[in-house]
Symmetry: D2
Subunit: 284 residues, 4 copies
């Protein structure tokens, strides 16, 4: 069913939800799913309202216009869009294909409601996997010397492709701070540990050395401060003493695939709101 | 913080949440937590609204009165009460003490916000465990011959104790159909399997015989149809071939304690709404 | 590292493990992994011994010959083979591709150490997905009238392909009893519920109707008695009241993929021993 | 069934398990459970052998004597004891009672096969909870000034009580380095985070601030380097954005209770072997 999705956060006050639901009722909107949360510590209000598009008297553009005065009064950060307009995601990869193959399967089967204008890599290895799906593949090599230029070129490619979201599916390059800032809140990364444990390089080796009994993966928004951005989802799996570092790699791959797929799904369905370094996720 | 809790279910219609939130805003109520769900198949609306009691102009009794016309118009089933008025639960046990000990600990520590007017058993074994907590213990023996009379007596005890909820914490007697009907929606049972697997007697032995790799426990409302009532929560644990039926018993006990404690908690915080044989649980 | 794998089950007796390890030490074998289990109820002994192939003075054929007298004395059921000789698995599918795509990815990446001589389906739909991997695809239509002939033809195809294992990756045909018998212990199925709950058709719909809070998938050996064969592995995921039957389908797919992949992995690494209707699984 | 438990670790070599099982078979021992693991990286051998005590020709003391030459030849670290001789554990607590209450319940019900000569605290608060079980309670106050003397007194108490194991059940004092060294491998702690995340103070508050989607608990051996000792078991639970720091505390308590109970159980059943900073745990 086509949905119109309103996502909003603002300072809390009495009667907030009444004003929002009155606004929607006024325009004939039938609410199909309402998620609301008030942060009791920061006194902040968060909501996601899913409206039956066909019940609305206005289209999304007109509704946005109509909502502006109320939003301004509430000092709100908000988005309002129709689910039929699928988000456009660009997937970034290096040489490992497990997350990419998983996302492609979910896209192909219709489980993940997105458009994929292209997949980009700093290597050529995964071109066949992408092109056989009828998708565009771009390789942009990155070396210490060419890094700045490379990311400028990538930025141009993403903008030209009208990307709504970048998904780092085990892309093994640290993003420049500038780039992170420009795309803030629009880059999702998968880190192969249950953060904050083992931030940085080689988490599985370090997990083995530490002798942990659980390993995991973390899906989070990328920020200039490596592996420290708002967490969207995490997944863990129990491990035993007999698991070698290679076994952890194998078991971890399934965690990574699940956590990344869920995180991307939540984002493209407008289920995530960021507040400081925490993320409010209205899971489905 | 003292809360006023409105729990409501009714046929869905446009503008429902607006009417509810307007009603609360009209009386000055500040919403601290709103959970709402619309069943898209049955077109049914469910909500739980937690209001800051101190922000309200009316007390619970007056607010209930004020809400009646709206509720009638919506053909709603609803409750409205203050969290400070703790629910009164009676725990029923037989000889096994693991669920009882767990509930008593959660009550004593303040984690479970209830009053316990008494614990009742068909045996004397657990009297010391209960009385040392300063709680009343009643033993009502049940034999095939005395069953009807015994349950009539128990019914009287529960009514006299103004019980809001009966918790069957491994109480090993099948409740008479009459009794189930009289207490419908107010009796929570813990069954030692992940229902609908292994309904009925000896679930751990049957789980062993079937060679399952997961065992579990199910917290559900008791109905005349044994182990078939609405499920509130379930818990599972992985088992291996080397676990004997005794090991399953041991591992299952932890599942039972967790699932029962959560189910009771959800109920006494007005987080559960029953619709047919399904339960809507606004978890915390 | 190339391994020689001895898998054995027999009636328990004193000194059993000593005799086995002496035999292996006598032939120079260095044990890399030993799993042993004695069923205390049935007094039955189960073991898997993984030997460094290069440390052995004999090859697998000669070692099998040398082991025969001891095995006969122990009245053992056993297998002894080299891991470098990968098992040949045939995957059977109908129209749904999630389990197939997952197995193909694990095979392609080297995670699943098998040969895939062909994929067989009762429909043409998944031919492109298979052939683009450079694998053979065979379609054998099955109708009520042609069922017997169809399974005879399939049996011939599997034998000619020297299949060690058939993997039913959501193959939507009930296997004839004859066929099950002929391939006993060599057919792995994935059922989309946590058995014994919801055996048979439409488990997700029935799970929704029952209002369970956990759904799952079961990987088991196929037997003539539908969904009643020895269980190898199970996987569950928590669900909430707001999940529609379609959501259960989506969430269940991930359970199915994980449980099937693990079950197949355990089988092809000789980690599973069947005893009656239970399976001993020496997990890795 | 009374068991004789041999726990051993030593450098790996060909024929090791054969020599051990021959030794046991020679003395008539019937092996009921054998767990063996060879660390492929460090070339180290670990095993736990559970022998039916009644099948043995010698008692534990004589068997230990008989085993000494073999152990010396293997350069082994080993223990050999009878399960009927229950380990003596001393529980250390401060003011929080959830782990203590859980351990006491498991001990009282016979689930945890130990003797508890006493419970010790740096406060008086939990005395009633302990003494009503008929157990000895000792309070030893600890202040910065008296710390050295206090731990000397405690050491004397533990030795006089013939303690095999100290269990820190949320004991809120850092152990002196000297004390850790003297009791190395015989002190189990529960830390309220999934280590190495949030080592040190206030893990739940820091978990909230970081916005993680999983919290947990870690059962580990105490070492002078705080929260860095070998991990025995970990437990996690999923959390959502609406969980306050107080909710994390509540949810975490169940993780702590489960992880600590399992860790203690594994230790007192001789299922744990320490190697460097990793622990081999033959789980049951």
């Amino acid at each position: 069913m086509p949905l119109t999705l309103l996502r909003i956060s603002c300072p809390d006050r009495v009667g907030l939800l009444a004003r929002l639901t009155n606004f929607i009722a006024y325009h004939g909107g039938n609410l199909l799913e309402v998620n609301q949360y008030t942060d009791p510590i920061n006194k902040w209000f968060f909501a996601r309202l899913a409206i039956d598009t066909k019940s609305l008297a206005l289209d999304a553009a007109a509704l946005r216009k109509a909502f502006e005065p109320l939003a301004a009064d509430l000092q709100a950060r908000w988005t309002l869009r129709e689910s039929q307009q699928k988000m456009r995601i660009v997937i970034l990869v290096s040489k490992m294909d497990h997350c990419l193959a998983d996302l492609l399967w979910r896209w192909r089967s219709g489980e993940l409601p997105v458009e994929i204008p292209l997949v980009l890599s700093n290597h050529e290895d995964l071109r066949p996997l992408v092109e056989r799906e009828g998708l565009r593949f771009e390789a942009v090599a990155v070396t210490p010397e060419t890094k700045t230029a490379a990311f400028e070129r990538m930025d141009a490619i993403f903008s030209e492709a009208r990307a709504d979201l970048l998904v780092l599916a085990r892309y093994m390059q640290v993003l420049p701070a500038e780039f992170c800032k420009a795309w803030q809140g629009r880059v999702i990364n998968i880190h192969h540990s249950f953060l904050p444990s083992f931030a940085g390089a080689n988490p599985y080796k370090r997990a083995y050395a530490r002798g942990v009994k659980l390993i995991g993966a973390t899906c989070h928004y990328a920020t200039a401060d490596l592996d420290a951005g708002p967490i969207i989802d995490q997944e863990v799996v129990r491990v035993e003493h007999y698991h070698t570092p290679d076994d952890l790699l194998r078991l971890g791959r399934d965690c990574e695939r699940l956590a990344l797929a869920r995180g991307v799904r939540y984002h493209v369905e407008d289920r995530v709101l960021i507040h400081g370094n925490r993320s409010i996720v209205f899971r489905d």
